[in-house]
């Protein structure tokens, strides 16, 4: 049988590396929030003639929007992000662009007032907070018959933080390099990962609970290792089928659900790892009171067969 719990202190190291991987880019680059969170307008136009990004930028700035951000999304299609535009301002901008570059079609227009942006940001933070606390409480409740239900909940939520930090770190880098923005679909993806990650943990913990009841070993670590190995193929298979569908979405649809699909893809892979290697190992470390081992030069010899 594979020994997953034996290297638990190494997995803990991986956890720290991942947390740093998520936190460092986040601290340096931050995230690039979309209009939903910052307010403003995004006008998507498609020109019939060839237009260069720099010419367009010059024209938009000349029309009175020095802060405008222009992004080409393929073909003659451009995103023009400005402060919040009124109907008249938008019409004026479009006619100025038509005069300079010829006929254009407006394919999309998205405008958010500062009030709405502020409330959306606030509610997003509340939603993610409630989700994390709610999941911890739920696990504690579902596993109330385990010796320390709150430890299960906490370990699952640490795994959860790992799972959402990775996509956040990746998006921080993608925001810096490719200009990817955080929108509501990104948040949707994050919350879906929250549900998915805990779902995996429940399956593993459920098996631990069952094996404890059966009393397959006196050693908690052995019980956990058995349980993780027994649920391994389930965790991989379900992740694989879900990844297959997410990949189909990403490759065939892309566009506005690209953010969502990428978050989900990264989150599912992270979740499979954390629910098999991180959360159960954390639980052992906690149950065995090995926290001190983290600070010693040599990790305690892990007992397992």
């Amino acid at each position: 049988m594979i020994n997953i719990v034996g290297k638990r202190l190494w997995f803990l190291l991986v956890l720290w590396v991942v947390i740093l991987f998520g936190v460092i880019p986040l601290a340096i680059f931050g995230l690039k929030p979309g209009v939903e969170f910052t307010s403003g307008s995004v006008l998507t136009v498609k020109f019939e003639q060839t237009v260069t990004e720099s010419d367009l930028k010059q024209e938009v700035i000349g029309t009175g929007y020095p802060e405008a951000i222009i992004q080409q999304t393929g073909g003659g299609t451009f995103l023009i992000r400005t402060k919040e535009l009124t109907g008249e301002e938008k019409t004026a901008l479009e006619s100025a662009l038509t005069t300079r570059f010829g006929a254009l079609t407006e394919t999309e227009f998205d405008s958010v007032s500062p009030l709405v942006a502020m409330e959306t940001t606030r509610n997003t933070v509340i939603a993610i907070g409630i989700a994390c606390v709610g999941m911890a409480l739920y696990i504690a409740l579902a596993f109330r018959k385990m010796p320390n239900p709150f430890r299960c909940g906490t370990c699952a939520v640490i795994g959860l933080v790992h799972d959402i930090l990775i996509p956040i770190g990746v998006f921080s880098i993608l925001g810096r390099t490719l200009g990817w923005q955080i929108n509501l679909m990104f948040i949707t993806g994050i919350l879906a990962v929250v549900g998915y990650s805990i779902n995996n943990n429940v399956v593993v913990f459920d098996r631990i609970r069952e094996n404890l009841r059966k009393g397959i070993s006196r050693d908690f670590a052995t019980v956990v290792n058995h349980s993780v190995v027994e649920t391994l193929s389930r965790c991989f298979n379900t992740s694989l089928t879900t990844i297959l569908t997410v990949l189909a979405l990403l490759l065939f649809v892309g566009a506005s659900i690209q953010n969502f699909a990428v978050v989900l893809l990264i989150g599912i892979i992270a979740g499979t790892f954390s629910s098999t290697c991180i959360a159960p190992n954390l639980l052992i470390i906690w149950e065995k009171g090995e926290w001190g081992g983290l600070f010693r030069r040599r990790p305690l010899p892990a007992k397992s067969q």
Partner: protein, 450 residues
């Protein structure tokens, strides 16, 4: 096969036929116009959120004012001829207006957001304080009359909602209106006072302009009481104004705080792409299940087909409006839906390895896997519940709500199909020759419990 299995099998067959009948009607598409409703992002249209300014409204009557505004917007939108518009209240003082398939955006916005009140004014004397309106003719102030000892401004609030447009005997377009009781009394006083003087008409803080581009300000020639007419508008403008006046006045000022418009061209390409993604995803998942789990995998694929048709039938009956994200949620749920099956099959394999018979393994697999299936799926419900709240709270984000809803329905149905369809189909297999070949269950004899 027990009697219970036969009953289940019959129920499942009936359900699948019903679902297919709902999903695949003759001469209608699966998605689109007469099939499952598509969201704004897929068929194009506008999503507008207005904030009502309740600062001028007496406290306690805010809700009434907002509901009044909604009723008026409904009438105006109907006059616009949009099919299946949706006008809803969001929270205390916001109104969400969804106009699928609309193309003349600016016109629609103008029509919806207008407070639409005509105000009447009289010219001011030199040095008579601050003017409310100014145009070529001079400075104007609201014209007033005293009714029941109270000085009131004359506005179209006193029109009866039966204005109409016609032409007079000279062929000029006229907008005809009738005053209500108070309006009649006021207009009598005012026309008496303003004899041979102009009466200014203003709309939305601007002078009402005629077809010739000049302000409409008729000279009062006689004392008028119960009715009046406005000349000089083009036929089109007069008709629109008449519709607005008849739809009634929006009782509170509205500010547009969120606007999202999408062209229909953009959306239609996504529909075919997402259907493609769904089909490819489904095929990949079924292939994987059949290759990995063999016979149970075939059973799971059958259950998955059942799952897809039942979920689509539910979307259509409730009905759930599918946005791109909603379809995304459904496609992802196909991958997640096999989870319950995977849990059960893994359990069955363990039981078979222990040397149990297929019948015993199936029953043990289901009963042992059930707590994990139940407890793990509840986490998805918690997440989608929170998402739905987030989506519905500030911005009425159809994509977020749509995703939450489709994933919730998907996960719930997948639990049901796993414990009914897969189970019944597997139990039906018991007793056939297939059940003796454990290799079909990817458990090989000699490979015991490791």
């Amino acid at each position: 096969m027990t009697r219970r299995d036969k009953t289940f099998l019959a129920i499942i067959s009936i359900l699948i036929i019903l679902a297919l009948l709902v999903v695949l009607p003759i001469n209608k598409g699966i998605l689109g116009k007469r099939g499952i409703q598509l969201g704004l992002d897929l068929q194009g249209g506008a999503h507008l959120i207005y904030q009502a300014d309740l600062s001028q409204v007496e406290s306690g009557t805010g809700a009434e004012a907002v509901n009044g505004a909604i009723a008026v917007i409904e009438k105006r939108v109907n006059a616009l001829g949009v099919s299946e518009p949706s006008i809803q209240r969001l929270g205390e003082d916001r109104i969400v207006v969804d106009l699928p398939g609309i193309t003349e955006m600016e016109k629609a916005k103008k029509l919806i957001g207008q407070t639409a009140i005509l105000e009447f004014g009289e010219l001011m004397e030199e040095g008579e304080g601050e003017a409310k309106w100014t145009d070529d003719l001079g400075n104007w102030k609201p014209t007033t009359a005293v009714v029941d000892g109270e000085e009131k401004e004359l506005t179209s609030a006193h029109f009866k909602e039966n204005t109409y447009v016609t032409t007079d005997n000279l062929g000029r377009v006229i907008l005809v209106f009738e005053w209500d009781d108070t309006g009649s009394k006021m207009f009598e006083q005012i026309t008496t006072r303003l004899m041979n003087k102009p009466l200014g008409i203003f709309l939305g803080n601007q002078p009402l302009l005629g077809e010739d581009g000049r302000p409409i300000a008729p000279i009062v020639r006689s004392v008028i009481t119960n009715r009046g007419q406005i000349e000089g508008l083009s036929y089109k403008e007069a008709t629109e104004l008449s519709k607005l006046l008849n739809a009634g006045r929006i009782p509170v000022p509205l500010n547009l705080i969120r606007e999202q418009t999408l062209s229909p061209i953009l959306g239609s390409t996504f529909v075919s792409k997402s259907v493609m993604a769904g089909i490819i995803g489904l095929i990949l998942v079924m292939l994987f299940m059949m290759i990995y789990y063999r016979l149970p995998g075939v059973v799971a694929s059958g259950a998955l087909m059942f799952y897809v048709s039942v979920v689509l039938a539910i979307f259509k009956t409730i009905p759930v409006t599918l946005s791109l994200a909603g379809i995304g949620g459904f496609v992802v749920s196909i991958g997640m839906a096999v989870d319950a099956n995977v849990l059960i099959f893994e359990r069955m394999k363990e039981e078979l390895r222990l040397g149990r018979t297929l019948a015993a393994a199936v029953d043990a697999g289901f009963s042992r896997a059930w707590p994990a299936i139940r407890d793990s799926n509840i986490t998805t419900f918690i997440a989608t519940g929170i998402l739905y709240w987030l989506g519905s709270s500030v911005i009425a984000s159809a994509p977020v709500m749509g995703f939450a809803l489709t994933l919730t329905i998907g996960v719930a149905i997948s639990m049901l199909t796993a414990i009914t369809v897969t189970r019944t189909m597997l139990r039906t297999l018991i007793g056939t020759g297939l059940a003796q070949k454990t290799s079909l269950f990817t458990v090989y004899s000699g490979k015991g419990n490791d």
